[in-house]
């Protein structure tokens, strides 16, 4: 492959992702509000929030925290770019794990009980979804013979019909990553949680904005990953990703937040279990 096209795509993705991610978050808030019978904020609300946060003064309780939050952003960006460069999925997820780790390090270094609780739970969340993502990459290899994003495009059949259970498992990971009920244990999207927003407790103003921005990238990345399950033609995949997103919101609104032990059980049971079942079925049937 020549690198020109991937680079153009990646640059475009990096530039566009905040827009898409922000709008997705806006959609999230709007839809959530409508499901709750409310009018909800405008679609552009996340951008206002972002702009407001950028303009606020900072409150810093640990220097290491602010360093790590930047690392969190840059590492996520790296993973994001790698994905859109068509690189190795495992590498992408490993880097993404580094990013998640950076977020946890930032919170841990704040010496605040709430932030540390949040960080510990964040790590538990990673313990829950990391295996799913790694295994999903392996599952994609099973079907395409390659670990790279590129190879998914090269394989000329959609993945979803062969990997439906893997898709479901990835949905679990998506739910955790989106910090939605029932998995919003470390840092909830909505504030009334026992950890006072956990990992974000000690961040304020611009740093919070940075975290928000990173979330947008993460969100777009995961949506793109979901879209990988049907890339011929790509718009089907995008539609599927949107449907998954909607489903995620739906689940958020019909479920209570559960405890970490349950989350671990569910994500390992459902997530890992489904992927393994899918792979076993595949190797038995094909």
């Amino acid at each position: 492959m020549t690198l020109t096209w991937p680079i153009i795509i990646a640059v475009a993705a990096v530039l566009l992702a905040p827009l898409v991610g922000g709008l997705l978050r806006g959609l999230d808030r709007k839809l959530t509000a409508r499901m709750q019978g409310r009018l909800g904020p405008p679609l552009t609300q996340p951008f206002y929030d972002f702009g407001k946060l950028v303009g606020k003064s900072r409150s810093v309780s640990s220097r290491a925290s602010i360093a790590w939050v930047w690392s969190y952003f840059l590492l996520t960006l790296t993973a994001f770019a790698l994905f859109f460069l068509g690189q190795d999925l495992l590498v992408v997820f490993f880097i993404l794990a580094f990013a998640g780790g950076a977020l946890a390090f930032g919170a841990l270094s704040a010496r605040s009980p709430y932030a540390r609780f949040g960080a510990n739970r964040e790590l538990l969340q990673m313990l829950s979804y990391e295996p799913i993502l790694l295994l999903a990459a392996v599952a994609i290899y099973f079907q395409t013979g390659g670990f790279t994003v590129y190879s998914v495009f090269e394989a000329n059949q959609p993945l979803l019909p062969f990997l439906p259970l893997v898709f479901v498992a990835v949905l679990v990971a998506l739910g955790i990553k989106m910090r939605k009920s029932p998995f919003d244990i470390a840092a909830s999207e909505h504030a009334h949680q026992e950890l006072v927003r956990g990992v974000y407790t000690e961040y304020s103003g611009p740093h919070l904005a940075l975290i928000e921005l990173t979330h947008w990238y993460e969100l777009v990345l995961l949506m793109a990953f979901l879209a990988l399950f049907w890339v011929q033609p790509l718009w089907v995949g995008v539609l599927i990703a949107f449907a998954a997103y909607f489903l995620e919101l739906w689940i958020d609104n019909i479920a209570a937040r559960l405890r970490w032990s349950w989350m671990l059980g569910a994500s390992w049971g459902v997530g890992i279990g489904f992927i393994v079942a899918n792979l076993v079925l595949l190797s038995v049937l094909l």
Binding site: A33, R34, M35, Q36, G37, R38, L39, G40, W250, N253, I254, A255
Partner: protein, 116 residues
């Protein structure tokens, strides 16, 4: 598990229940108590209202030098109990149903212009 789904579907399709407050103001209930309306013409400055107010929101002050009696009402302190209106012998006090429901722009004021 998806017991909440019914509600969500209903909410999604029936449109938001939100009252678009500052844009559309709801007709207040006739009994709604917002602020105290005062008719100085009827008042005899008897001071009953000031004595009886549980929040000390009214005072009747006598300025002996200027031979002037005034009744001062601190609407920020008023708890809208309507006790003064009930007990005023002259009927110069009345609980106002504010024209736009529970609150209007006057409900809020800046610290600097904190009226008395």
């Amino acid at each position: 598990m998806p017991l909440m789904s019914g509600n969500l579907i209903k909410n999604l399709f029936s449109g938001p229940a939100t009252r678009p407050y500052p844009i559309v103001k709801r007709e207040p209930f006739p009994r709604a108590r917002a602020r105290l309306a005062y008719d100085p013409d009827k008042c005899t400055y008897c001071g009953i209202c000031a004595n009886i107010c549980p929040a000390a929101a009214i005072s009747v002050e006598e300025d002996r030098e200027n031979l002037h009696i005034s009744r001062v009402y601190n609407s920020f302190a008023c708890i809208s109990c309507a006790r003064c209106a009930e007990l005023c012998p002259q009927g110069s006090l009345r609980m106002e149903v504010s024209p736009h429901g529970a609150a209007d722009a006057k409900t809020v004021a800046y610290s600097a212009s904190k009226e008395t």
